[in-house]
Amino acid sequence: MTRALLTRLAHGVLLAACALTLAACGHDESSGSSAAFTPTPEQIARGRYLTKAADCAACHTAQDGAPFAGGAPIASPYGTFYGSNITPDKAHGIGKWSADDFYAALHDGNARGKRLYPSMPYTSYRQLSRADTDAIYAYLMTVKPVAVDTPANALKFPYNLRFGMAVWDMLFLKNALPDASAGQSADWQRGRYLANALGHCAECHTPRNVFGQLVDAKPLSGAALGRVVAPDITPAGLAGRGWTAADLQTFFSVGIAPQGSAFGEMYPVVHLSTQYLDKDDVRALSVYLLGDTPPAPQPVKAVNADAAQLAAGRSVYLAVCAGCHGLVGEGKPHVAVPMNGNSTLRQANPHNLLVAMLDGIKTQHFAGLESMQAMPAFASTLSDDELSQLANYLRATWGGQPANVAAADVKALR
């Protein structure tokens, strides 16, 4: 708590500094030209594809809301942001915006003079080519205009002082993001653009520093923004959990691979974005994540653990898990993913495993006719002891991870 207060205090000081800077500069942020823009049908089609690749809908389309009319809440440690209305409605959306304005928003976080927060990932979109932002703009201008106001962000002080973003941008906005993998091939280059610019993977998968900026030294090494932690997707992290390029491609195209299914915030990413990527782009994405010379996928290590603890965990598994996940962790097609070699079990941090067991996972529909049945929440069925025993049995048996989960770890996540 004290640390959080200190952080906010530090942020307040930074903000005061930027207020002075701005005052001194007499910064003028009025929008530039509004040159005539006549898109071609090819450009619009391309923009439609890019809009999916950039996953704009994730934040700009609310559940049960009109496409791109905004209102989807984005919870963060700073408060709740709301995706804005980006339909071409002149009063509520971006109908008055020029292609230049649109580029400035994606490239500089400057929405016609208003500083955007990096919840809008201009920090990643900055790397988009002008041709691509124009295509996205062309597509969005063809979307049905919707006259809906965007809810006001509900941010804590001092984060609610938007002008502070000008200094934040000055300090932290970079032209390129660091790479977690090594490569030079055309696929790797294309994958870098897909992952770092369009897909904005780093926004969730790269840890953030005290001012909310991405940590350059640890690209894609995993971060905790929401209830489900974004895992380590560096080449070593992926290979350590058994991922191959082919399995990653299946995961992006379908949402399910032998290592498990997309859940938490990754589920809508697959649902709204990656499943629409063409084969070449999916391949490129997998090449970028693993690098031109991918590390060998690691087999599950044998783990020694306390037999009594494992026996207790196995009893819990047989009582409430084995019906769907199988007696030997083999899973059931279209019902439940295998536990044997499951990527979440293989994470060193048991966080996501515990969250899945406590909260359950809703029914998930994937590309084609694939789906996974709802997993019940066990928060009220199983005690902290039972859940920790179960987690240890799963980790030691199928995850190659130590049986080091304590009842207190479960309690902390309730």
Partner: protein, 214 residues
């Protein structure tokens, strides 16, 4: 099936499991065979067990093969259709449905459940003398055709009725409460409307379930 028969089949199951256990490893990971483990529970108010039951056996199999209670239906076998649900009675007096096709028998060790066989009143010879209100209304409303899903619907509706008796709801909320309570239950004869009407009939005609019932 009598208790003696149950014990006999438990014994044969455990005998079958024994030869497979060649090694005496402290713990087998992952489990590749069933090993017998004692199981005691209360079913429809009667104590059952301890029986030696292979750990990992699903509850629906235990009910059919060990307890001799064949009224609970195995439908999809994967937790979707809810034909197999039984009522789990909690120590605090509340109760909930639980799917026996995906829940291991040993989950119920020391717990108390009700199955479809436990709803009607019986005489000393075990013959049904009076149906439960839910069962009777299902008959009155011709709610079911093939009847395969009916045990699940009876259990779901009974859990709802008992919950409303503890915490009555407003009249305006009755239909949505019934919808929520029966929603998971699938009827392939598609007789849903008559099930829902019958449950509404029970709710409205039983005193104390609806706050503003006139």
């Amino acid at each position: 099936m009598t208790l003696a028969q149950s014990a006999a089949s438990a014994a044969s199951a455990s005998a079958a499991a024994q030869p497979a256990a060649q090694t005496s490893a402290p713990l087998e990971r992952p489990l590749v065979q069933y090993r017998p483990k004692a199981l005691s529970l209360t079913i429809n108010g009667k104590a059952v067990g301890p029986l030696q039951v292979p750990e990992g056996l699903m509850m629906i199999e235990f009910l059919h093969e060990y307890a001799g209670l064949t009224g609970s239906r195995l439908g999809c076998g994967q937790g979707i259709c809810h034909a197999c649900v039984v009522i789990l009675d909690q120590p605090d007096g509340s109760s909930e449905e639980i799917r026996t096709c995906i829940t291991g028998a040993h989950f119920f060790n020391g717990r108390s459940i009700r199955t479809i066989e436990g709803h009607a009143k019986r005489n000393e010879a075990g013959e049904v003398v009076e149906l439960s209100p839910v069962q009777q209304k299902f008959l009155d409303h011709f709610s079911f055709q093939c009847g395969y899903c009916t045990p699940g619907f009876v259990n779901a509706a009974t859990v709802l009725i008992e919950r409303l008796a503890r915490a009555p709801i407003a009249k305006a909320d009755v239909e949505s409460a019934i919808m929520a309570a029966l929603d998971g239950h699938i009827c392939r004869c598609t007789g849903y409307v008559r099930y829902y009407e019958a449950v509404k009939d029970v709710v409205m005609s039983t005193p104390g379930l609806v706050k503003d019932a006139a």
